[in-house]
C-alpha cells in the first residue's frame, strides 16, 4: 500500500484515460484486464499502468489483473466524479453550444446548471441541453454560483473577455476554471486552471510534422 506517497502530476492525467478506457472495456463486457492490455491500447508500458494505480492503493489481483468495475468505481472516487458537480458555462457561441450539448458532460458526473453571455441577442434564449436553462446576463453570475453551490466554471468567450470573466468567477467563489480562450489567465494560485488552446495543439502537430520529415 503505497498511499500518500508523492504522486507524479502526469500520473493524475493518465487516471482519466484509464477510467475512459475501462468504461469502454466494460461496455464490451470485459470483467478483468491486465496492466499489459490496458497499457497497450493507451500506448503506455504495463509498469506505468501498475505504478500509476498503485499510487492510490491496492487495486489489482495478482494472477488475475484488475477488475474493471472495481477500478472504475475507485477511480471515480479518486477523481471526485462519483458525485455530481455543478458547472457553470460562460459564453454561448458555437463552442459554448457544443459544450452544453456534449453528452460526455453529464455521463461523467458534471452538470451544467447555468449559462451566461453578455450578447443581448442571446440572453433569454433556451439552452438545448435539456433541463430548460436560459442564457443569463453575466450580472447574474454571483447569484448562480451561490444558489447552485458551483465550484467549476467553463470559459468559452473571446480572448479579450476571458480575464474579466475569470476574475468574476473567482470573485464569486468558483474554485476551478476550464478555459478555452487563448490567453494565460492570471488568477490566485488557490484556483485550479486547465486550458485548452486549439492553436497550441495544431502548432504541436505542425512541429512534429516538420521535425519528422527530415
Amino acid at each position: 500500500m503505497a498511499r500518500a506517497e508523492h504522486i507524479p502530476k502526469p500520473a493524475v492525467g493518465r487516471l482519466s484515460l484509464y477510467l475512459r478506457q475501462l468504461e469502454s472495456f466494460r461496455a464490451a463486457d470485459r470483467r478483468t484486464i491486465s496492466s499489459r492490455e490496458l497499457g497497450a491500447v493507451l500506448r503506455l508500458s504495463d509498469a506505468q499502468v501498475r505504478k500509476d494505480l498503485a499510487y492510490f492503493g491496492q487495486f489489482g489481483h495478482p494472477g488475475i489483473g484488475y477488475r474493471v468495475n472495481e477500478v472504475i468505481d475507485r477511480l471515480r472516487h479518486i477523481l471526485g466524479t462519483d458525485r455530481k458537480s455543478n458547472v457553470l458555462l460562460v459564453g454561448f457561441g458555437h463552442l459554448g453550444q457544443a459544450l452544453v450539448s456534449f453528452r460526455g458532460f453529464m455521463r461523467k458526473g458534471f452538470e451544467v446548471v447555468a449559462v451566461f453571455d453578455n450578447d443581448p441577442a442571446k440572453i433569454g434564449r433556451g439552452v438545448s441541453g435539456g433541463n430548460s436553462l436560459l442564457v443569463q446576463p453575466l450580472g447574474e453570475l454571483p447569484a448562480a454560483v451561490r444558489r447552485h453551490n458551483v465550484r467549476l466554471g467553463v470559459i468559452a468567450v473571446p480572448a479579450p473577455a476571458a480575464q474579466g470573466v475569470a476574475d468574476a468567477l473567482v470573485a464569486s467563489g468558483v474554485r476551478g476554471i476550464l478555459n478555452f480562450a487563448p490567453v494565460t489567465l492570471q488568477v490566485d494560485k488557490s484556483v485550479a486552471v486547465s486550458s485548452v488552446d486549439l492553436a497550441v495543439h495544431l502548432e504541436q502537430l505542425s512541429f512534429q510534422l516538420v521535425s519528422r520529415q527530415r
Copy 2:
C-alpha cells in the same frame, strides 16, 4: 548555440505559449522582453524560459532580453507555421462549427480547406467560415486531401465514429490528427496525434479540488 541537443518534449509545448504571449506583448507595443517577465505571466521560471529558447539557438541579447519580433519570427519558423497549412475538418456539429468559425485558425497559419460530415441534412450546407466552403460527404475525403495537399486533419465526430474517420484520414495520406472525440485513436506511429478530451480536463480540475480541500 546548443542546437540539435536533446529537446524535452514539454519544452516544445511551451514554445506555443511563448509565441502566443509574445504576440500579445507585441500588440501592446513591447519591443523587448526578459526571460523573467515572460516567465512571470506564464507562471514559469526565468531559467526555464531561457533554456527552452536556447535549445533552438541563440535567441536573446544579454543585458537587453529578447526582441519580441525576432523571437516571434523564429518560433513560427520552428513550429512550421510561417507558411500556411491546409487543414481538413471532419464533423460539422456544434463543435465543428465552432472550430471553423474560430478566428485563431487562420491567424496562426492554418486554413480549413474542406469540411466533411455524413449527415445528409448537413451535406451541401455552406460553411460560415468565409471562403464559400460546402459540407461534403466523407467519400470525397481522399480526393480533397490530394487536391489541397492536406497534411492535418481535425476529428470532431461522436466517439463511435472517430476511429473510422482516423483510418480514412491516414489512408488518404494525412500525417497529423487533432482529435476531439473521447477515444484513444489507434494509428500508425508515423502519424502524429493530439487529443483534446473535455471530460479529462474536467476530471483533472475535480481531482485538484478534491485533493486541495484537505
